[in-house]
Symmetry: D2
Subunit: 366 residues, 4 copies
């Protein structure tokens, strides 16, 4: 319970610092029998790798995953899956100038205050590299969802002021566009905007949207373990996320009940909603509709302009950050968002199995 684990039945524990020997994750509670290999996990890690375009850091992070436990003869065994990624590309000297200085927008000051210590070589535990563990665990969760027929799809919805246009959507662009926007025009506009910011030694934020289809009705509990509440926690736990929305999100505070309520209708497969303002949950429980969430991501705090700050001795000074930093982390965050959503939904999927006595009896052939 000390902060590095999330989930109840499907529970992941990440560990590792940006400049330590390695990072990793232990996934406990994955059902036995899921096909899993290092190649499968690697594909997800490759999606968050930097150095793939002009807008992501030219650091080369090999990020090769090794599975150390929990898989036997190509399938999960029900035992904890331990996955490790070695750090290979840290250049500590890049960071030495900031050893005693608190970078604005970073966790340097709060971390130092809390623990009386700080890994001055980089973000340490608060680095974006921590998400390596999340994505490796997310790979397991997404593969498990696939086995259940559940599909997850994340994408960049906006970067700075550039929004995708719902009439130009082309999801085949995902993973090809450097922005991860499923809209070729917006992609180009965003690239231009980012390029301008880079010239200004500045950085930009954006919005990631994530949709999950074929979620069974019934996931989530009615009070604190609402599916949306757990999605909120999982997503706001990603470093740079400052806002969370489900369904119509912030719009609901402006609408009326007659606009916001989704009517139920009869379909071939049973009950459905004719609209989805709710975003796939009612009373915290999935309603069978597409689960749709959005997160707002702040601009990368590492900018190359001079900034005012203080050091550990509480002396005011000016800092100019060196090194290699993405002007925007939004495109690389997409797979992290997908991972956290998948981890949350898998957990809810397993938690839901004991909701009804008759289902428990059927499980045990009673």
């Amino acid at each position: 319970m000390a902060g590095s684990s999330i989930g109840n039945l499907f529970r992941i524990s990440t560990w590792g610092e940006s400049h330590g020997p390695a990072l990793g994750v232990v996934v406990d509670g994955c059902p036995a029998g899921l096909p899993l290999s290092e190649e499968m996990v690697q594909a997800y890690l490759d999606r968050r790798k930097p150095g793939q375009s002009s807008i992501s850091t030219p650091r080369k992070e090999a990020d090769q995953v090794e599975i150390l436990s929990g898989v036997f003869e190509g399938k999960t065994t029900g035992c904890p899956i331990s996955m490790v990624v070695r750090n290979t590309s840290q250049k500590s000297h890049d960071y030495s100038q900031i050893k005693d200085v608190y970078r604005p927008g970073h966790a340097d000051f709060t971390f130092d205050s809390k623990y009386g210590f700080r890994d001055y070589r980089g973000g340490g535990r608060s680095s974006g590299r921590e998400t390596v563990g999340r994505v490796a665990a997310g790979a397991v969760a997404i593969e498990l969802l696939k086995q259940m027929g559940i599909e997850i799809c994340g994408y960049t919805q906006s970067i700075g002021p550039v929004q995708i246009n719902r009439e130009r959507l082309d999801f085949s662009l995902l993973g090809k566009n450097p922005t991860n926007m499923p809209d070729p025009v917006a992609n180009e506009q965003a690239m231009e905007y980012i390029g301008q910011c880079q010239l200004e030694k500045d950085s930009v934020g954006g919005v990631v949207c994530c949709q999950v289809k074929n979620v069974p009705v019934g996931l989530g509990d009615p009070v604190f373990e609402k599916l949306d509440a757990n999605l909120a926690k999982a997503l706001v736990s990603i470093g740079a996320v400052k806002a969370f929305e489900i369904g119509d999100g912030i719009q609901v505070s402006m609408t009326k009940g007659s606009e916001n309520n989704d009517p139920f209708i009869k379909t071939e497969s049973g009950v459905e909603k004719s609209t989805n303002h709710a975003g796939g949950t009612l009373g915290g429980i999935s309603d069978g509709d597409c689960v749709e969430v959005r997160v707002h991501i702040k601009p990368t705090p590492s900018i190359f302009q001079p900034q005012k700050t203080v050091n550990r001795d509480v002396e005011e000074l000016e800092i100019q950050i060196q090194g290699r930093h993405d002007p925007v982390i939004v495109p690389r965050a997409v797979v992290v968002v997908e991972s956290m959503v998948a981890i949350t939904i898998v957990d809810a999927l397993l938690m839901n199995m004991s909701a009804k006595l008759e289902k428990v009896q059927a499980f045990y052939n009673r």
Copy 2:
């Protein structure tokens, strides 16, 4: 872990349905020695009581709290505090027409699907009345924060399109204005807007803002137990909340790093930030600044217009909800938001005590 509890060291478990004999909460992990009485808790419950103005339901809910354990000679004992509120005003017959019908925007359908059952007399466990337990527990948390010099203040920021104006703020109005807006002009405009919606048999949403002052530096953990992540979960677990923001929230996706980063400065008391775009946390850990969060609340789903829906037999029909329902729940939700924020911060406060070995040694005089 089955959904009705939240918190680690300061842990609350609510129970009860809108039309059962009673609702309540058990607060476990409250430190011994906190002055507490039924009168103190009652003051918070009275703030969420309906029937106090034209815009809240005329139901009379006495909502008298009884403390059954954990307090001795006027102080908490370290043992679980059990608090109970009897239901006195349910009129079951008001609800009988909806026995087999799924109300749009409510949890009827999802609850029935999950548990094979539904308390047709009202919202049951998914009713807003469940927040009685949250507010009773919140009272304990807020009183504990007071003993630590930490102040919490929630208010209505907007109702429908009506926003408060930061130049007209008057916090002395809170608890007196029916809207809980700290702005006399906005209050009147909002009342007018709500009145209009009532005539249309419709309902409206709004935004609640909550600020916490004097939060010590260091609360929250760097990865999944970020203070903001736990605030997000606690707040999105409130029934009608569809979006969560901290600090600049959704604005960050539009700004640049040079605008969003808060510079550190030296002050008499140590390190501070000269701005607070972050909303009081950095890397998930409180930075000593004001913690500021906002939630977006959907319009009350119970509206008096006819609505299309289906029943348990999957027959399409039209429903017209009767009974007593608030056209807007935002003003009454303010104390619920304060409660969930306080519960989250108290838990983080206690969790933080074991972060440094030297502090542990000092605690045990080593």
Copy 3:
């Protein structure tokens, strides 16, 4: 996590002190659809009631249970079940002489040291009355096990030096014999032994055995959540328990592998063990055989002889306890042991449902 809850999916939280207004329990995670009534729970509470024979305290504790939530139309709803028992018979003045004195064998000293406070009217939270909540929750668990075809049976195996004889077993005596021994001869011998101890103003201990039949294969996890480990915690958490055994228990340290290993055999229904030295678990997982555990209970610490002790001002003195105290709590502890065993097994039963992917797929019709 603050000490008053146990279980993961089936999770109970007890509250209340011996001399407060009431005691109770919240059961969260009980599957929906279990028939449950106050009468059903009352039957279990009546089994732990004092005042039923010469060897239990003549206090009259009505111990009438009230179910405040979680049951609708005679069945559980999946929501938390809140059960309350009012305290009606406390005579505070009986205890006033011990206000500042630490009774030997009681928690007075440790409680006061930990919380800076002590409910001098009785044992407070550390009183045996706390088990009221355990038994009410145990009733739910045992009823749920019955629905799964699982039978639980606890009994007194020994009191002081008096042991039951396996050749005289008569389980129809349980609930009728004041000692709860299923052996008429041992019962009489034990009654005589206890009577002698009462004359000496002394108290006695004993052993409770509990057997569970028809436990499905597969409950419990391989490492820390072993079924036997959780049984050990649940049982040692009962106030006076000082030792726990499963299967051959302490005997195993004296035997050889060839004696201790249970051979597997083929039966009509599949695989079984021809002996059961293991007590129903292998590697922490139930093996389909009878689960058999035993606990060793210390003599009631409240004895009427003068005892040396100290008071809060650390002055040595002699205390002579007054009031009404059982000379032996073993017979009344039987239903408490059954309750804790049942709670543990129900939780393991629900936890086991997500162990295999193919079962998860079948559950969701994939």
Copy 4:
């Protein structure tokens, strides 16, 4: 919560199988500032290594630990400590004959039933090698206890019928005697007894005792999180443990209250007990006295005699186990017992810090 983690604030998660690439542990919640190195952890792992005498398996397990995170400049950082030990000595072909056969006394049958799978190369997750992770985590816990002035000492109390004699105790022998008995005579007798069993192709059990000195008063909570209850769970979670005792343990069921109660006395440092039948806890809370626990360990189930059993196809057959197996695991289990005790006590130490409001206020300088 899926079975591979234990502890609340100080929480360990082990992973790994006997024949996979590696085993390890993640320790989350260790306070920042604890001196820690691979050498320090290695010393504990070396104590559980096999191949050190005629009575332990001649397998050479290098068991070199690597610390991958959570330590910076020689001290813990407050972040999770990930430790890995590579498996180097598995000879899979030794085990191939048992691929489809359930070994008596092992988890083969229950594991296969639960997960539909079994690592036929050895015990897999249920192997004694899993304790590598426990001991690495235990090293951290024991080092932390040292910093608090708390001393832990485990030893072999008996092997088969051979008991140590309290009049011959010589604790300097621990770590030198192959039996880990602090009694030179008993050590020789036990070695002789074990040798005889080896000739008979049989195995033996024994008892490990563990004492903890200078435990502060106040650790543990009054109800389910009793210190003794958590010790029971932690110790019974060790593979071969079948019974747990604290203090006088099983003896208490035979004694009278006047014998079992420990009188309080006044000493220079405050309140103490003049005897310690309780074993260091009262009402589940540490009383400042020596915490003393004992566990009863079954004989190694791998014996070289022919045994009756069945295979996966439920055919009866005879198995004769080959390979390298300890005739007794008790001596090597001592450090595992110490580890689990230390992990439990460290967790209780941290959990106790929020028990009193005045202490919380002092911590935050209020």
